[in-house]
Symmetry: C2
């Protein structure tokens, strides 16, 4: 029999073909019209887990999109890990910016382009294929594993809390190993040790209850677009601080040692601007770019709209205008408290002549940190050191991984992030891609990780 | 032979059926995909003019949508009038607010519902049918008439200036009689004696040149939605005055007699709010609602958009945000000068970290007034007095009728507005309608007008 690593290398092409097949499914969790695609993707994952040789493969229905569970628990003395990933993807808008269609995967320059390949279909396929490699070559795994693959990560995992709470015994393990997340740079291996929390609000401003002609009525009635712009503008100072009263009240400021550690991380402003295709940095005064991205909370408008958006002009005063807001939170902010403060701000700052409707988004997540001494973290560092020939950096994450907070709170488990996605791979934007080399590195790395974890 | 009025009454049903046929054509001038419908509508109008018995019927191509010309010039001693109307319509958005589809005309409660029936297909069909009535019953008209029916009114008539300049001899008449415009209320006959000018700008704010994940990059890069909201908010004071420097500089303030005349016009705040379906008035401090609508300039955002507008949330920092602006102008503001001032304001007030692209809309119009002593105005007042049993009010118009300014400047002619549209008929909004009684009143009135005009 070949070794596990030999088996994986011999199967690179087939695994890539399977990822391409998976990426063809537009499993967009936020759009109800894609419910059928969500089911197709869930079924695809379950079929893969079964084919890999795992036991107890189940598609478990929730109040939202289904969760897939599988396990292999046949080494009584070895640790047990819970492997986390998700099969849902972000919407592909704006469609016209994609070079190749988002659900017609194409390889260019060693990269696979398609919505969801980097976040999280590629990374989550890796542990399934590594399990397959162990079971096909030696009929056993070095450690006990459980898979939890969800379909609601991109909408903030609204059903996951109830699911985890109701299935605590099924899911409990020594720690969670997440195939979701991202390394921060392609040239420097890294491990994420903290992530920001999330909370959202959407609001609608209404003027007259019907669209009006701006000639006939302009000047005599409030324009909800003006009011909405004023409300949105009121949320920040011109310098870029959030202007909501009490927003920063519970933020734990970093101590000087922590700030020094961040300041020592390699950062090239030109490279960063090139990566994000921007001309200049912008953010909260008094903080470095890493501090702004990882350790400071934000309030971002993700969508703003009202009135005529077509070609040419339309002299209308629209009836309604809309805005979508999400905040990234850091320790020790509380999502519910921040939501309350924003609602208060919007209500207090509403201009005259219009009506405000606020929708509080249900999905929210606390910020999270893993202890620096965690054994799972140490093994991740060793594996990455072996593969890339350099010690990985400990970095924080600007994004939100609600599962880590959830696993800690409900199951008492920490989460080690071990994803082979890279932060520049345009997830949540047009032309998302996954580097083929990272797929292959990931297969090597996950096999090594389990072998090292088995050695007490 | 029946009299003209008898002929018209006998043909009410057929004329209505023809208007319904006309309203089925989605001749939306601002959307390039409707070019074929524009041609269909132009051809329909030309066919109607020919069938009515007019001479020299021509569809004349311009750099934009075609103009239709026709005439009848066989009474050497009588005055000549230029009849103006337009066959293009506004876009029907938002479609989901229409009770019946915008291009499937339906009659409910004595009203014909369809996009464009009130603005301006119904009113412009009236003089064609009146000409037909005279020519079918007596083979002649009381006065000389020329028709100029354009297809670009709803986009600010960009080709009309060149067309009028190049065809000055063809078009010149004693004055213009416009079938476009509107009476201000259904229960009070009125004549419009002034209209506001128009100028537009569209702008795009760009941050990073691609959409970014708000978790990874939020806090470290400018969000164009924030910058756009700040720019839009900067255009007005919280009280509702335009905050662009010099915006009001050239405005001719009304004298006290003029303000008194406006103050004497009947106005019921509750009725007005009910008509526009709003809860409260809002506008420039220190002016009445009529003054705000008719005699004060405005700056309105007609469209504002960027980022995710779909269901649920998408944690994106979009690359771009957009806004469409139009201003209504009053004497003695100059559209070009106001455009310059807004461009200056936007450029000076641009927040940090973003790039601004400004598109100056070509279509602009000066404000216009007709002398109170004009004979064509007097005849209009007499006709409306006979039909409705009360003296019509002289009102101003909040909207823009660029032709009046154009005819004055290029042909030295004044324009009398003689439309049977009513201001509450939701043109430029969902569920536009035209009252059937106004169609029939208009037929009676236009026949009377020409007869009175012939009497020296």
């Amino acid at each position: 029999m070949p070794s596990v690593q030999e088996y994986l290398i011999a199967n690179h092409e087939r695994i890539l073909a399977e990822l391409i097949e998976f990426a063809r499914v537009p499993s967009i969790s936020t759009q109800p019209e894609h419910c059928g695609d969500i089911e197709t993707a869930a079924q695809w994952v379950a079929t893969q887990l079964t084919a890999a040789g795992l036991s107890n493969v189940k598609i478990i229905l929730t109040s939202g999109h289904p969760v897939i569970y599988a396990d292999w628990l046949n080494v009584p003395d070895a640790p047990t890990i819970l492997i986390y990933g998700h099969y849902d993807v972000q919407p592909p808008d704006p469609l016209d910016k994609w070079i190749s269609p988002p659900f017609d995967p194409q390889i260019r320059d060693g990269r696979l382009y398609a919505r969801g390949v980097s976040d999280d279909k590629g990374p989550m396929l890796i542990p399934i294929k590594v399990a397959e490699a162990f079971l096909k070559t030696s009929e056993k795994l070095p450690v006990n594993i459980k898979f939890l693959i969800e379909g609601e990560e991109e909408i903030g995992s609204p059903s996951l809390e109830t699911f985890v709470a109701e299935n605590a015994v099924l899911l409990t393990a020594d720690f969670a190993l997440s195939a979701d997340g991202a390394m921060w740079r392609v040239d420097v291996p890294s491990i994420t040790v903290a992530s920001r929390g999330l909370v959202g609000i959407e609001f609608t401003v209404t003027g007259a209850k019907k669209d009006l002609h701006s000639g006939r009525f302009g000047g005599a009635v409030a324009n909800p677009l003006h009011a909405t712009a004023q409300l949105v503008a009121s949320l920040h100072t011109p310098e870029g601080r959030v202007a909501v009263a009490g927003f920063y009240e519970d933020v734990r400021e970093l101590d000087s040692a922590e700030r020094l550690a961040l300041a020592r991380l390699p950062f090239d402003e030109n490279d960063f601007l090139k990566q994000i295709q921007a001309d200049e940095l912008f953010g909260e005064p008094g903080y470095s770019t890493f501090e702004r991205q990882w350790t400071r909370p934000t309030l971002e408008i993700n969508g703003l709209w009202g009135g005529y958006q077509g070609h040419g002009s339309k002299t209308v005063i629209p009836s309604e205008a809309h805005a979508k807001i999400t905040c990234r939170l850091v320790a020790n902010q509380n999502p519910q408290d921040i939501q309350d403060k924003i609602v208060h701000h919007l209500t207090q700052n509403l201009p005259s002549g219009v009506h405000l409707d606020i929708h509080r988004e249900d999905n929210m997540a606390l910020p999270y940190e893993i202890p620096e001494t965690h054994r799972g973290l140490k093994i991740a560092a060793d594996v990455l050191g072996e593969i890339y020939g350099q010690e990985p950096l400990h970095v924080r994450m600007g994004g939100t991984l609600p599962v880590s907070e959830l696993f800690k709170r409900l199951l008492g488990m920490d989460t080690v992030f071990f994803s082979f996605s890279t932060a520049d791979e345009d997830f949540h934007a047009p032309n998302e891609f996954f580097r083929l080399q990272r797929l292959y590195d990931g297969l090597t790395a996950w096999a090594l990780y389990w072998q090292k974890l088995a050695v007490v």
